[in-house]
C-alpha cells in the first residue's frame, strides 16, 4: 500500500511535469496537464504522508538503483511522514494556486516550469523518505538542480542570474559538507544504509562532534542559517511566487529534517554542547533575519529574510532539544523538539500563505516593491485578509499558530534555564532574543501589511489592481484557516507531531492538555488554552458592544470624510509614510551592523540652479554585513589564490619541461 502510494504520487508529479514539457508547444494545455497531474500526485502523497504518520513501525522499500550495488532505500516512518505532509500538502496548495497564476505571468516557458516543479516536488519527497546515502544525496542534488532551474524565469535581469548562480553554489557548498558527514559515517558503519548508521556503535566524541559540525554547516546552509544564509534572500524571491513559497516553506525544512535525523538518530549519544551551539546560531539567525527583513523593500525578499528569522526560531527549539537529549532529560528534549517541529509546521503554513499572497499582489500589479504598493485592501480584499492573517500569525501574535509554537519555544528556554549551571544564562538571553525577534517581526509585518495593503495606492498599477481569480484565493484561504485552526486547537497538530519524535525521546505527559491545550514544559504548570482566551475576548467585546449600544444616541451617525491630518489635506498618495521611512529608526539603530549607502539624485530643471530641483530621489540601499565581511572576502580570496596559482601556466615551454624533469627526479628520489 505504502509503496503503491509512493509510486503513484512520485510518478504522477514527475510524469505530469514531463508531459507538460512534452506539450510545451501548447503552453496552456501543458500547464493544465502539469497542474492537474501534480495536484493528483500531491493528493496521493498526502494520503501517503498520513499513512506514514499513522503507522507504528517504519516501513521499508528497496529497489535497484542505477548501478548494481547502489540501491534506493526508502523508509516510511512518522518523522518522514510529517515532512512528507509538508511537501505534498503545501505542494498541492501551491499547485492549485499555480494553475491560474501561471496564466497570468509569463506563459512562454510554462511547460518547462511545470516540468521542473514536478520533479522538484518529487525529489523533495524522496529526500525525506531516503534511507541510504545514495538515495538521499541523489534526491538532494536533484532538488537543488530543479530548484535552480525554476529560478531564472526572467533571466534577462542581471540580479536574477546572479541569484540563480549563488543559489546553486551555496547549495553545493552545503551539499559538500553534508556528503562528507554522511560518508564519514558510512565509513564507520561500513555501509551506506541509514539503518547501519543507527545500528553502528557510537564513534568517539571528537569524531561525532566533527560530523555534527559538518552536518550543521551543510544543512544550515540549505536552511538559511546565519552566517550561511547569504544566498537565500537573493534566490528565493526570484522564482515564481508559488515556487518561492515551496522553497521557503518546504525546501529549507528538508534541511532541518536532515539535521534532526543526524542529531537524534545517527550520532546517537548526543553531546549537550552541540545544542548550545545550535541555540546560539539560531538566536543570531532569528534576530538578524528579522532585522534584515524589516529593512527590505521588496515584498518577496522581505519574506525570504523572514524565513531566515523563522529558521532561527526553529533552530533555537532544536538546540534546546539537543541540549536536553545530551544531558539525559528525555521529556524536556521531547518538549523542545516538539516546539521546533511545531514551528516548522507553522512556518511552512504561514510562509506559504504569505508568498502566495505576495504572488497574487505581484500578478495584479507587477510591483514587488512595497514603495509602489498600497491600498490593495480595497481592490483585493480577499488577498488582503489572507495576507493579514498570515502577517498576524508570523508575528507570533495570539491566538494564531505562530504564537503557539513561539510560546512553546519560550517554555523550552524556560526549562533550559533551570538546566545545568552553564546554561542558566543562555536561556534568558535566548528568550530576550526571541522577544526582540517578536518585536521586530511585528514591526516588519505591520509595515508590510500597512504599507502594502492599507492606505492609498502609491502607483498607478496598485490603483488598478484586480482581485486574484478564485482559484488563487482558495489555497490562500485554506492556509489562513489552517493558521487559525492550528493556533486555536494546537493539541491536534501536537498530537500528530508527538508521534514523530525519535524513539529515545518520549514524553507521554505532553499530551495531557488535550486537543485545545498548549502544554507547558513543566507539567506542574497548567496548559494554555487559546480558545479560552478567544472566548474571553469575545465576551469582553460583547459586553462592550452592549455598553456602546446603551450609551450611544440615535443622532450620532458615522460619517466618512477626508482625513483630518492636522489640517493638511492629503494631496498625493506619495505623501504617505513610506516603507523605508517606517524602518528608518531600525536602520539607524542597526547602522553599525549594516553598511548603508545613501544616494541623493537631484534632477534640476535648470542647469544653473541646483537649488530648484525638479525632483529629488533618495536611494538607500543596505548591504548585508555577511555579504561584505564574509562572502565577498572569501570570494576575493579564492579568486586571488586562483590567479596566483594560474600564474604557473606562464606560457613558457621551458618551465613546463622543467616541471616534467622535476617530477621525474622527485619521483625517483622519493621512490614511493
Amino acid at each position: 500500500m505504502l509503496s503503491l502510494l509512493f509510486f503513484l504520487s512520485i510518478l504522477l508529479t514527475a510524469a505530469s511535469g514531463a508531459a507538460a514539457l512534452a506539450l510545451q508547444s501548447r503552453p496552456a494545455l501543458a500547464h493544465r496537464v502539469g497542474c492537474w497531474g501534480q495536484l493528483a500526485g500531491t493528493l496521493a502523497g498526502v494520503v501517503l504522508a498520513i499513512l506514514c504518520l499513522a503507522s507504528d513501525a517504519p516501513g521499508h522499500l528497496r529497489f535497484d538503483g542505477p548501478v548494481p550495488g547502489l540501491g534506493f532505500t526508502l523508509r516510511f516512518d512518522a518523522l518522514a511522514g510529517f515532512f512528507l505532509l509538508l511537501v505534498f500538502g503545501l505542494g498541492a496548495l501551491a499547485t492549485t494556486f499555480g494553475l491560474p497564476y501561471g496564466f497570468i505571468g509569463h506563459s512562454s516557458s510554462l511547460g518547462t516550469r511545470d516540468f521542473c516543479l514536478g520533479f522538484f516536488l518529487a525529489s523533495m519527497a524522496v529526500v525525506v523518505l531516503a534511507d541510504d546515502v545514495f538515495t538521499f544525496f541523489a534526491a538532494w542534488e536533484s532538488m537543488s538542480v530543479f530548484a535552480f532551474l525554476l529560478l531564472p524565469g526572467e533571466h534577462e535581469k542581471r540580479e536574477v542570474r546572479e541569484a540563480a548562480y549563488l543559489f546553486l553554489i551555496a547549495s553545493q557548498v552545503g551539499t559538500a559538507f553534508i556528503l562528507v558527514a554522511f560518508l564519514v559515517l558510512a565509513h564507520h558503519a561500513g555501509s551506506l544504509e541509514f539503518d547501519a548508521f543507527r545500528r553502528a556503535a557510537p564513534l568517539s566524541l571528537p569524531w561525532r562532534s566533527g560530523i555534527f559540525a559538518l552536518a550543521l554547516i551543510g544543512f544550515g546552509t540549505k536552511a538559511g542559517m546565519i552566517p550561511f544564509h547569504v544566498w537565500l534572500p537573493k534566490a528565493h524571491p526570484v522564482a515564481p511566487s508559488h515556487v518561492s513559497a515551496l522553497m521557503s516553506g518546504v525546501m529549507i525544512k528538508t534541511a532541518l529534517y536532515g539535521l534532526i535525523r543526524f542529531a537524534f538518530e545517527f550520532l546517537a549519544p548526543l553531546d549537550a554542547f552541540w545544542g548550545l551551539v545550535v541555540l546560539t546560531l539560531g538566536a543570531v539567525s532569528a534576530v538578524l533575519g528579522a532585522l534584515f527583513a524589516l529593512l527590505e523593500h521588496d515584498l518577496k525578499r522581505m519574506l525570504a529574510y523572514s524565513s531566515v528569522e523563522n529558521v532561527g526560531i526553529i533552530l533555537m527549539g532544536l538546540g534546546v532539544a539537543i541540549f536536553f537529549a545530551g544531558s539525559g532529560k528525555g521529556d524536556w528534549a521531547a518538549y523542545a523538539l516538539l516546539a521546533a517541529l511545531f514551528h516548522t509546521l507553522n512556518h511552512a503554513v504561514f510562509k506559504t500563505l504569505l508568498f502566495l499572497a505576495a504572488g497574487s499582489v505581484l500578478a495584479a500589479t507587477r510591483e514587488a516593491s512595497l514603495e509602489h504598493l498600497g491600498g490593495l485592501a480595497r481592490r483585493m480584499p480577499a488577498t488582503a485578509v489572507c495576507f493579514l492573517v498570515g502577517a498576524w500569525a508570523i508575528s507570533g501574535l495570539p491566538p494564531a499558530n505562530g504564537f503557539a509554537s513561539e510560546w512553546m519555544t519560550y517554555q523550552a528556554l524556560w526549562v533550559l534555564a533551570s538546566g545545568s549551571a552553564g546554561t542558566h544564562l543562555l536561556g534568558p538571553i535566548a528568550a530576550a532574543c526571541l522577544a526582540l525577534v517578536g518585536g521586530l517581526a511585528a514591526a516588519c509585518f505591520v509595515r508590510a501589511a500597512g504599507v502594502g495593503f492599507l492606505g492609498l495606492p502609491r502607483t498607478e498599477p496598485a490603483r488598478r489592481a484586480e482581485e486574484a481569480p478564485r482559484g488563487m484565493i482558495w489555497p490562500m484561504a485554506a492556509l489562513a484557516a489552517l493558521c487559525l485552526f492550528a493556533g486555536l486547537a494546537p493539541g491536534l497538530p501536537l498530537a500528530m507531531l508527538a508521534g514523530c519524535l525519535p524513539r529515545q525521546l518520549s514524553a507521554p505527559s505532553l499530551l495531557l492538555a488535550g486537543p485545545l491545550g498548549l502544554p507547558a514544559a513543566r507539567s506542574v504548570e497548567p496548559p494554555l488554552y487559546p480558545l479560552a482566551i478567544v472566548a474571553t475576548l469575545a465576551a469582553l467585546l460583547l459586553g462592550l458592544t452592549f455598553v456602546r449600544r446603551r450609551l450611544g444616541t440615535a443622532s450620532a451617525a458615522t460619517r466618512v470624510h477626508g482625513p483630518w491630518n492636522c489640517g493638511y489635506p492629503i494631496v498625493a498618495p506619495r505623501a504617505q509614510y513610506s516603507a523605508s521611512g517606517f524602518s528608518q529608526p531600525f536602520a539607524y539603530f542597526a547602522r553599525k551592523l549594516l553598511s548603508r549607502k545613501k544616494l541623493l539624485d537631484v534632477h534640476a530643471r535648470h542647469h544653473y540652479s541646483p537649488y530648484l530641483p525638479e525632483s529629488l530621489v533618495l536611494r538607500v540601499h543596505s548591504v548585508s554585513p555577511f555579504d561584505t565581511l564574509v562572502y565577498q572576502p572569501v570570494k576575493r580570496f579564492v579568486i586571488r589564490l586562483s590567479k596566483r596559482v594560474s600564474r604557473l601556466q606562464t606560457g613558457s615551454l621551458r618551465l613546463y619541461l622543467a616541471f616534467l624533469l622535476g617530477t621525474v627526479i622527485l619521483l625517483l628520489l622519493i621512490q614511493p
Partner: protein, 219 residues
Amino acid sequence: MDTHTFSRLVELTSYSVLLVAVAVVAQRNLATSIRLLRLEGFLLAMVSAVIGLYTGESHLFWVAAITFVIKGLAIPSFFFHVMHRIGLPHDAERSLTVPLGLMLASGLTLVAYHVGRPLALASPWITRDVLASSLGTAFIGLSLMIVCRKALTQMLGFLLMEDGIFLFGITETYGMPLLVELGIFFDLIVAAGVTGILLLRMGGDFGHVDVDRLSDLRG
C-alpha cells in the same frame, strides 16, 4: 669476444656518450652541437654492433646500421639543412652560463647514479653500470631543452635525450624486438619531420624560432 672485453667496451662507449652529452652542454656553437650529436649517433651504432657481436643476435647489426644512418647521418644533416633554411646564427643561446650548465649536468648525472646504483647492484647483467650513464644522458638532454632558448637547440636536446634512452634500451635489454625498434625509428623519423615542418613554419610565420617568445597561451 670475451665477456670482460665486452663489458669494458660497452662501458667505455656509454661513458663516451655521457661525455659527449656533457660536451654539448659545455659549448656554445650550434654547428658544433649538431656535430657532437652526429658523434653520439656513431657511438650508439658502435654499441649496438658490439652488443650484436657479443650476443650474436643478427638483428642488432641491422639496428646498428639503421642507427648509423639515421642518427649519425640523416638527422644531423637534416638539422644543418633546417638551420641554413631558417638562417640561424651559430650561437646556441642558453639561459645559463656554461659553468652553471655543467653543474646542472653533473647534478643530474648524480641523480641518475643515485637511482641506478641499487638497481645496478641487484642486476645480474654484466653491463650494469651503463644504466646510470644512459639515464644521465637522457636527463642532460632534457635539461638542455630547458636551458635552450631556440627551438632548434631544444630539438637537439630532445635528440640527445632519445640517444640516452636508446643507450638505456640497448644496454639493458641487448636489443628490443626488431619490430619495436623499427617502430621507434619510424617515430623518430616522423618526429624529426614534424619538427622540421614546425620549425620552418615558425621561421616563416613568426620570423624567429625563439621559444621564450612563444607565450601567447597562458593562464
